[in-house]
């Protein structure tokens, strides 16, 4: 095809201008890809950290009640909701722990360790001494390292738990965990120990739920409220993800503007090209090139510049992201976890951006190409 041939010649002969145009688009796309993947990575990290400790949905007793009765029925109902990956019942109460003359107030939680691990992974990733499973047998407790230090407790020591209206219990410390301050006031005991402490039967105070899709939490909470329970989603408790979402949107708009500006650069280059090539366009017309052939030559050139710029930008952006990820730059770290500078490139972006720059560049080329095709050959040949 003559148009392709002529376009290719123009682009390869004017290597410097071509590289400049491709470079401008590539730079815009690289920055966009990096920003987007940085936000992706940041969001992923935030999700990872927060959601290890925050259940997606928390079910609380019905209005006017302080306990969830018949909780096995509730758990059955929870498990029938699609997307539920964990449901951990808990019986929570306030308690005072005393040891060697020191007293600290804690939230004493009766839990099933296996289920709790699915919500917060405490027993899996955050134990520094002993283990969480040990609380299942007898009067035992697992608590936070900071709390243990305040009470001067060591593994194997016996601590006294008491509270008004509660039975005083002696608990052996068999597990110490460290979550970097996320749950200093939590002390975990078995469900049975908690019930004995409160003198309660088969009741709980809450069910923590994890979902495979965290953005369905509101919906799941609503369906649980229909059963009469109070249910809260993480979304109603934290605005962080909304703010990430809105930042992502505004960033994408800014980035799109950057790309549009780079497309204007292409329009500019095409305009100059048409001006510079006026005589040659006239000559091509004299040789029998129709208006549509001339128009296509310039549209193809604009398109190639955009596509090449978009593709190069994606490759460079992806390369930089992969390289920075491989450096594992730690932004902050705590016991059990570290936050790394982490770019997560959305593979769809790698397809979308070359297409976007292709379309924008062709759009930018429409006017100059039209101008070229409408030249009067007699006038054009005169220059």
């Amino acid at each position: 095809m003559f148009e392709l041939y002529a376009a290719r010649k123009h682009l390869t002969a004017r290597r410097r201008q071509t590289l400049l145009a491709v470079g401008a688009v590539a730079l815009a796309v690289t920055i966009t890809i990096l920003f987007r993947s940085l936000i992706n990575g940041f969001e992923g990290t935030i999700n990872d950290i927060i959601f290890q400790f925050v259940p997606h949905v928390t079910v609380l007793p019905k209005d006017g009640e302080s306990r969830i009765y018949l909780y096995k029925t509730l758990l059955d109902a929870v498990w029938t909701i699609p997307g539920v990956t964990a449901a951990s019942p808990a019986l929570s109460t306030a308690a005072s722990l005393s040891y060697g003359g020191k007293v600290e107030n804690v939230v004493l939680r009766g839990v099933v360790p296996d289920e709790l691990n699915k919500i917060s992974r405490i027993g899996l990733d955050y134990m520094v001494e002993g283990d969480l499973d040990s609380i299942e047998i007898g009067r035992r407790v697992a608590l936070d390292r900071e709390m243990a230090e305040r009470l001067d407790l060591k593994l194997g020591d016996t601590v006294r738990a008491s509270f008004p209206d509660a039975r005083t219990l002696n608990l052996v410390v068999t597990g110490i965990f460290d979550t970097g301050g996320f749950s200093t006031n939590y002390a975990y005991v078995s469900m049975k120990t908690a019930r004995d402490f409160l003198g309660e039967g088969s009741v709980i105070t809450e069910v923590q739920i994890k979902l495979d899709d965290i953005y369905r939490a509101d919906e799941v909470a609503a369906s649980l409220r229909e059963l009469g329970y109070n249910a809260e989603s993480w979304q109603s408790q934290s605005g962080i993800v909304e703010s990430i979402q809105s930042r992502r949107l505004s960033n994408t708009m800014i980035m799109l503007l950057v790309i549009i500006i780079s497309a204007f650069g292409i329009a500019n280059i095409m305009n100059l090209l048409v001006l510079e090539k006026t005589r040659e366009i006239g000559m091509m017309m004299a040789m029998g090139a129709t208006s549509s052939i001339i128009r296509r030559i310039f549209l193809i050139e604009a398109g190639v510049l955009g596509l090449a710029g978009g593709t190069a930008g994606c490759l460079i952006g992806y390369g930089i992201a992969a390289y920075v990820n491989s450096l594992a730059i730690a932004l902050s770290s705590g016991p059990g976890f570290s936050i790394y500078l982490n770019f997560v490139v959305d593979p769809r972006d790698l397809l979308i951006f070359p297409l976007v720059t292709l379309l924008l560049s062709v759009a930018a080329g429409v006017y100059p190409a039209h101008q070229a095709s409408k030249l009067d050959p007699v006038v054009a040949l005169r220059g």
Binding site: K9, R279, M283, M285, A286, M287, T290, L381
Partner: protein, 241 residues
Amino acid sequence: MSKIIDIKKLRKVYGDGVELVALDDVDLTIEEGEVLSIVGPSGSGKSTLLNMIGLLDTPTSGEIWLKGQNITKATPAERARLRNKELGFIFQFHHLLPEFNAVENVMMPLLIAGVERKEARQRAIDLLEEVGLGDRLNNRPNQLSGGQNQRVAVARALAGHPSIVIGDEPTGNLDTKSSDMIYELLRKLNREMNQTFILVTHDMAMAEKTDRILRLVDGRIVCEMRREGDEFVSHDLCHLD
């Protein structure tokens, strides 16, 4: 000889307010295989007439017939097709495309016509050898002299086997030696391929080598001289000065 171009009462007026009559009811018949020169002062309408014949411009009134076909009202696409098939152009400036080497420039009319690359290339090489540039095939215009570039332009004008070759001051930018060389080349091609050549020129020495001279003044043909042997015979009242 048969008529290849027949022009009837051709008129071209420029301008909306102040009218400028570039061509004033010109009648002209051109025979196949003829080498015709058009002379006249600047602004006499020579180039306008040439652009009409070359289908680059449209008349205000009158008719142009090409090979028995009235092409006065042809669509832009049809005119482009006819330019490609029937016409070859040589301008004062070679107007070669700077990104393309000699062969690629000569191939261009053929590629526009949709001729296959390989075939077009062979035709271009043959033509460049014909014009004496067989050793300059891959040189770009900026690597060739003015005369050489003009010879490439001649080869390009001939690439599509046009029936008419139009030259607007084809030697106007060249020294005498190169001019003679170009003219001899055109004449040789005319003898070999019986193509019609229409040349606008300021160069009387060159005009006097053609078969017929038309003199245009103020958009009218004021004089026509035809060669008979070595002599020019005036058919109308002529004042060649």
